[in-house]
Subunit: 144 residues, 2 copies
Amino acid sequence: MQKVSEYVGYLLVQVTKAHRKVAETGLHDFGLYVGQELILFRLEEQDGMTQSDLADVLCVEAPTVTKGLQRMEAVGMIERRQDPSDARVSRVYLTPKSRQLIEPLRELWAEVEQKTIKGLSEPEVMLLQRLLLQILENLSDDKV
Amino acid sequence: MQKVSEYVGYLLVQVTKAHRKVAETGLHDFGLYVGQELILFRLEEQDGMTQSDLADVLCVEAPTVTKGLQRMEAVGMIERRQDPSDARVSRVYLTPKSRQLIEPLRELWAEVEQKTIKGLSEPEVMLLQRLLLQILENLSDDKV
DNA sequence: CAAAAATAGTTAGACGGCTTAGTATTTAGA
DNA sequence: TCTAAATACTAAGCCGTCTAACTATTTTTG
């Protein structure tokens, strides 16, 4: 092993930072912050999800969801209503305002993806996906 | 293009989050937070760097460096001294305490890297590096 | 059935990261 | 030389993320 700056891990961090930056720029035009669009995508699949389920599918902790939703609710991007059968549960819904954004947001993601994999061949992209999934498994593994 | 959750960009975010988590766990044993170890590595290459140079090589903004250094200085991990010939410049130095950590930290990074690329062949790793570098260029490109 | 345990959310506060605005200080230019 | 511009850093405040601690509710269980 040589320099840390040549490690796959280091490259991943740099690349993801660049990716975030690009996505961020586009999202701001919609009044959203990175990650909030993923909440909308999930709600579009299943409106009225609970916050816990949202945290699970997004792979983040509950407080992260709470904060994000509070901000999104403040600007009318989502709505929260208590579950009628379980007073602990709060369900999250899209609003007309955010429903309108779903399509443009999907287009934004598609554009960012195009920019990301520009110049890579189809087989290269597929291989890359396979390798990234393998790494994701490796890193999620509790063993050393 | 299909689901966002199959995009390379989305995978990158997930993978990097997992990588951060693994690195974080190890770093906490040294009393460090993610990213701070990179500052130490850079200082080990060139002790007495200016904060601006540090920000440049780490690809972060000046305030990010300022904050991180303030925290590290508070726990004796680095030391800042004003440049004698330019009163605006503050130069950053390792301390005996942090100098001792360099080697163990390098080992930690090597371990995390091993875990990251576990199961990948040599050619696969090299290809992956090439693809990630290509993506980094793509995303750093100002053009659409 | 009542007490203990599990579950769902929130709050507080830490971190890295950013932008914007501000302070010194140094350099460049009229 | 004296002012204007550039540079180096800091402060404040926002974002996503996390952990730890807390409240309220529901479920389990003795």
